[in-house]
């Protein structure tokens, strides 16, 4: 990033584009934090997981429609946009490149600055904006990430993360192995949640916590083996599987909370929608006198609004991304991002 040409003091409107994985989203926000539009189109694989090339094809096809819908929802014309933000990483290459291409084209056409945004930072920032959290320990759990983070000295530091697969991915793969499919618009993880609610008997499964880091691959293997053996009911297995995954997540979040003594816990990412996980994190937050904040589904899943908001935050600190530095960063870590705006927001 480099210093911006102009840093306006009036109200800005930023259009943000999200395209790290299976969602193509466009959000429009004003600099006072009002969400003017938030439209998402999701690629749904016919079977199996996300194929990056197929997802990127979906994004390219959906881009025009989603953009127009967002502008209509915000009820503004393109020339009222002051800033274009896009998710520059981390994520799947073909998906990221599709979003970046749309962003560069819009920025050049509208002659407005471009801001490349870290997807993980954006999840935390929109969570803070929509829940009012100021300085939280964040548990971000999705299909691609499992990160426990808190802000220290200019950056969102990573206190814990998965040593192998993401928790959401672990749940999705388990569900597919169990032959479950998305039902009535519910993602497959929600199907697992519903089955788990009817489970009664707890079946021991590997529980692997190393300091503040987690490992899910052994648990996934063990659970899949039990599925194949067929000795236990699917309800009991879903129940036990969920209990172990979420207990592990809660244990490390509590450890980070005890270590940092932050006043809030922010739960976000696709898995944040799970009621049982919410219940567990709420309990530890209360025990440590921290406020429990859970991000609503619209903003916990991948969305363009979070990119737009983070774009505004960065831009107000004079950070923009010239075209020649706008290449996507597939492995852009959360703690690589310099986030000067956080200190300012903490006070206000």
């Amino acid at each position: 990033m480099s210093s911006g040409r102009r840093v306006s003091t009036g109200t800005l409107r930023c259009l943000g584009i999200e395209s790290t994985a299976d969602d193509f989203g466009v959000g429009i926000l004003s600099s006072d934090g009002e969400v003017l539009a938030n439209v998402v189109s999701t690629y749904i694989p016919e079977k199996g997981g996300i194929h990056p090339r197929e997802a990127a094809r979906h994004h390219a096809e959906a881009a025009g429609k989603v953009l127009i819908e967002a502008l209509e929802e915000a009820d503004i014309s393109p020339d009222e946009i002051d800033l274009i933000a896009f998710s520059q990483g981390p994520g799947m290459g073909p998906c990221l490149r599709t979003g970046a291409t749309v962003a560069r084209a819009l920025s050049a056409y509208l002659k407005v600055p471009l801001v490349g945004v870290n997807h993980l930072v954006a999840h935390i920032e929109i969570g803070k904006l929509t829940t009012g959290a100021k300085d939280p320990v964040t548990l971000f759990v999705s299909g691609g990430s499992t990160i426990i983070s808190a802000f220290e000295a200019g950056r969102y530091r990573i206190f814990g993360e998965t040593l192998d697969i993401a928790a959401g991915n672990c749940i999705d793969v388990f569900a597919r192995e169990a032959g479950l499919r998305p039902e009535k618009g519910l993602p497959v993880a929600a199907v697992v949640e519903n089955l788990a609610r009817r489970g009664r008997r707890f079946i021991p499964l590997p529980y692997v916590v190393k300091g503040m880091d987690l490992s899910f691959s052994g648990l996934l293997t063990a659970a899949t083996q039990l599925l194949r053996e067929g000795r236990h009911s699917l309800e009991d297995l879903c129940f036990s599987f969920q209990e172990v995954v979420f207990s592990m997540l809660t244990e490390v979040t509590e450890r980070a909370l005890a270590h940092t003594e932050k006043p809030e816990v922010l739960l976000t990412g696709g898995v944040a929608a799970n009621r049982r996980l919410q219940e567990m994190i709420r309990i530890i937050a209360e025990e440590h006198d921290a406020r429990f904040c859970v991000v609503s589904k619209e903003y916990a899943l991948d969305n363009g609004a979070m990119i737009a908001w983070t774009g505004i935050l960065a831009y107000r600190c004079g950070l923009t991304t010239p075209i020649e530095e706008s290449q996507v960063k597939l492995r852009w870590r959360l703690d690589e991002v310099y986030a000067p705006w956080v200190e300012e927001l903490k006070g206000g």
Binding site: T146, R155, R157, F159, L163, K210, H259, E336
Partner: protein, 216 residues
């Protein structure tokens, strides 16, 4: 008197047969299913004193264990007077810091050489006594292993703790730790572990892929 409420257990400073002792209680975690909770607490309560004892055998100072009660998930142990390395690290000179970290590295080396993985190497789990000894505490997540993978993860956690809590001098501290570690473990084993740490940092799916932490 409650002196520390962690994620894992609560520590109480108490009088016990005329001694000042630490009572470590793994309290039930209300978020966890009772069955799962009981199993985890009992397992860790039984395991921790064993690892602490093993550490003494390989010359790593650890608290004396007075009593273990798995059914109540309680351990009574020596109260080690001193400051945590977390507190001390910010108060001392660079030379002292390097010296301290080198000694910590030696202790970790002795543990690993003896087949013990600490499991939660942070600067809060090391106490510098007034006589200048470094005592390692909290073996609640330890395991017995001689695998390079386990050693790598153990040191990776140490590195992470340094970079997230003491980012200003994390680099020099970690280098000093590795020097001390190398003195005990030898060059070959150390290089193997360092290679493993890099591999761990690069591991994972696209988002969780690792890179070296940023220099700040």
């Amino acid at each position: 008197m409650l002196i520390k409420k962690g994620a894992e257990a609560s520590l109480y400073l108490e009088e016990w047969h005329g001694r000042r002792v630490i009572v470590k209680r793994r309290l039930p975690k209300p978020y966890r299913l009772p069955q799962l909770d009981r199993a985890i607490r009992a397992q860790r309560t039984k395991h921790e004193p064993l690892a602490i004892h093993r550490a003494k055998e390989v010359g790593v100072p650890t608290p004396i264990i007075f009593m273990v009660d798995p059914s109540e998930a309680t351990i009574i142990m020596e109260f080690v007077e001193g400051k945590t390395v977390k507190q001390v690290l910010d108060e001392i000179t660079e030379r002292e810091r390097i010296d301290l970290c080198t000694r910590i590295g030696e202790l970790i080396g002795r543990l690993h050489k003896g087949g013990i993985i600490h499991g939660d190497l942070t600067t809060s789990n090391m106490i510098l006594t007034s006589s200048g000894n470094v005592v390692l505490v909290d073996f609640g997540l330890s395991e017995l292993s001689r695998e390079v993978e386990s050693r790598g993860v153990d040191l990776h956690l140490m590195k992470r703790a340094l970079f997230s809590t003491h980012h200003k001098y994390a680099e020099e501290c970690f280098e000093a730790i590795i020097r001390g570690y190398r003195d005990v473990m030898g060059a070959e084993a150390t290089d193997e572990v360092l290679k493993k740490i890099r591999e761990i940092e690069m591991r994972g799916r696209y988002v969780s892929e690792r890179r070296l932490p940023p220099k700040t």
